[in-house]
Amino acid sequence: MKLKQLSIFLENAPGRLYEATHALGEAGINLRSLCISDSSDFGVLRILVSDVGKARRVIMEKQLPARIDDVVAVEIDDTPGSLARILYPFKEIRVNVEYMYALAGASSGKAVMVFRFNDNDKAIEVLRGNKVRILDAEAFGMIESK
């Protein structure tokens, strides 16, 4: 149920984001979700892609510093309070959200949240116990096997 997310570290310099996204586009890799955050001297581009293995090879060839992390994607109602309701059980069991980002318009009337937990396996157990729909690679149209 975990998804493979590609995190690419980009120096805060003009053209770096273009270089990475252009290379992936040229290789026919579709970005299923994306978020970018920055620190003082570099940014992190976090993406779920249609073909993880191929994307990894493209980034290796470009010699960009990057890593693969496990994340968990869940579908929630697009209504006030839905996210807080999902997060509530984690207070008790001391599972932290390291970061998260939203993916709007993934399905009608629903929002998709992508989480990186400090313990993804434990988080999945809790989410399942609370009948939260967890999205797998197939739901995202992602190939992860290569």
Binding site: E11, G53, I59, M60, E61, P65, A66, R67, K146
Partner: protein, 313 residues
Amino acid sequence: MGKSSYQPKRFAVVGAGPVGAIVAAFLSRGGCDVTLCDVVPSLLKPALDPGILIEGTETLQAKVTRTTTRVDELIGNPPDVVIVAVKATALPLIASSLEGFAAEGRYVVSWQNGIDTERVLAEHLGAEFVLRAVVNLGCVPVGPAHVRIAFHHRPHLIQELDPRSMAAAAGISEVFTACGLDTRRTDQIQHMVWRKAVLNACMNPICAVTGKTMAEVINDPILFHLVDALIKEGVSVARANEFRLGSDYYPYCIDYIRNAGHHKPSMLQDIEAGRRTEVDYINGKVVEYGAQAGVPTPYNTMIRGLVKALEPK
């Protein structure tokens, strides 16, 4: 001590740069089954035919068994041991590509420069299947599958991360030694890694920034003052973190550098070739560990910043 029960025969070497090519050549010449892997196809073709050519302190030519441009292909036809000889910056992606390789009797060796490379591998594969080596040679690429060894200070060192893999470390070191790449299992690898890293941290970035060889740097009084400051800063950080460098470490450093002659360290080679360097895993780690122990690292911070500024944008 008797022979280890673990005697691997099938190896994959990930990274067909100078360090990877040397390992692949020695293992191939020693009769091992060797798969050489790199994302750059032009580095692989001559490794199959006429073979990898090594010159310099020793001369040999050997053909690898097969090549591949895809690390994840190794999962389908797994070797006994994967030797990771890529730049440390490529490690996180390589490590994730090798997920699924780790199993009983299979191991991955970080045969690299830099601090904490083995931790990146262990994060993906599990500590039981990861070993760390310290490589004691200097080399330069002449062309694809053609390398010149500038200096070779035997033996190389290897250690398991998990005591359950002690026989594997011993067995791999025996095979390497039998192939002419003398390697010894140690139980002091972290200290050895720091001995090597402080040495790299004092010379490599100075060469990278100035464009000078190691001999030119050590013979320039102004630059030698910077080298000296970097050694002392690295020693302070290592000792504050309780890594043992040994009481003879300073003269050892100076001797090592003097004997390297007109060698261009890999960090300078990278800058000249427009590649990213390993400075984050060398000086960057000295800075990181310095912060952890409350030791200021102004020289390492400065030189790391200057090298980063020269890296391709």
